[in-house]
Symmetry: C3
Amino acid sequence: MRQVTPELYARVQHFYARQTHALDSGNFKEYVDTFTEDAIFHHSPDGPPARTRAGILAAAEAHREATKDDRVTRRHYFNQIVLTPLPDDSIRATLYALVVRTRHGEKVPDIWPSCLLEDVLTVDGDEILLRSRHISYD
Amino acid sequence: MRQVTPELYARVQHFYARQTHALDSGNFKEYVDTFTEDAIFHHSPDGPPARTRAGILAAAEAHREATKDDRVTRRHYFNQIVLTPLPDDSIRATLYALVVRTRHGEKVPDIWPSCLLEDVLTVDGDEILLRSRHISYD
Amino acid sequence: MRQVTPELYARVQHFYARQTHALDSGNFKEYVDTFTEDAIFHHSPDGPPARTRAGILAAAEAHREATKDDRVTRRHYFNQIVLTPLPDDSIRATLYALVVRTRHGEKVPDIWPSCLLEDVLTVDGDEILLRSRHISYD
């Protein structure tokens, strides 16, 4: 199994920081490229998962369309990352996520949602990619 | 004195992430094992500190019992970690802590409390343990 | 260009943790020393930037004077740090910032503001310094 070194820990933190910036800035091409081509994303407790980069892109675009009149700036905070090696050389990442939402014209943001993310990461040389994500909403 | 290297910094972040997950998921055995056997935990401004793993376990269980009807999911966020070497080869960690609380059936969580944690960590090979913690509530 | 290694990533996290502790504890000497002597700090969308350590110190002291009757504890959280090498051997850091405010006598803090920070860091041996900062408020 792959060893979880301090170097890998810092690289995974950087990976998640880049992913959240891409998502929050609406750079969906860069966002989707943080997933493997065949990734599975269980983003909703009620609906089916998104599958493949194309499917995850479609889900992100549908979310943007559904919220386009919200006039809200969203920032994803991913923290408290725990990494565990898996037998197939991938890495289980279990982490907390918050979205800080600032409504335009208002000053004080609120938080929604608070979640637990259960991810599987593949590490290939310098490249980290997200193979699966399961979100549990608090 | 022990040097605070980038490797140690990442290891300490990972240590705290594991500690918060253990606490929030109610895995108190794993939580208590992040303390040294003789640890002192000043958790309350008014009461005496908890001492030893057994005492810290009893305090955690008493807190769970006191809040068992709250129907709240709590997630501890530990961030902004500053490490300073101490003369006895241990490490002073000064960090910020938030608890994000989501009440079941409600969507928007609140934060309580916001704290400063003053910890002393022992580092022995690959093992990091918490020897003392002092919490100051904002 | 300077390579963004996992070691540098952890060092930058530690740098920001120290900077926020210095600022929040009112240790402005230590805070100002995290900037280069000739730093530029665009802290306000409406006003001119603060320039040089002396100017940044004056801005911090003016802010403290303006808020001295607020009876609020402020804690800066800097997270989701993305680092990019710049051609002149400096590092672009793009990160999210929150301030958690606890009013004395009240328990539940609020968050204000939520920001995007666009920083330029210089790295010289073991020393990291902030050469410029631009804040965008959500």
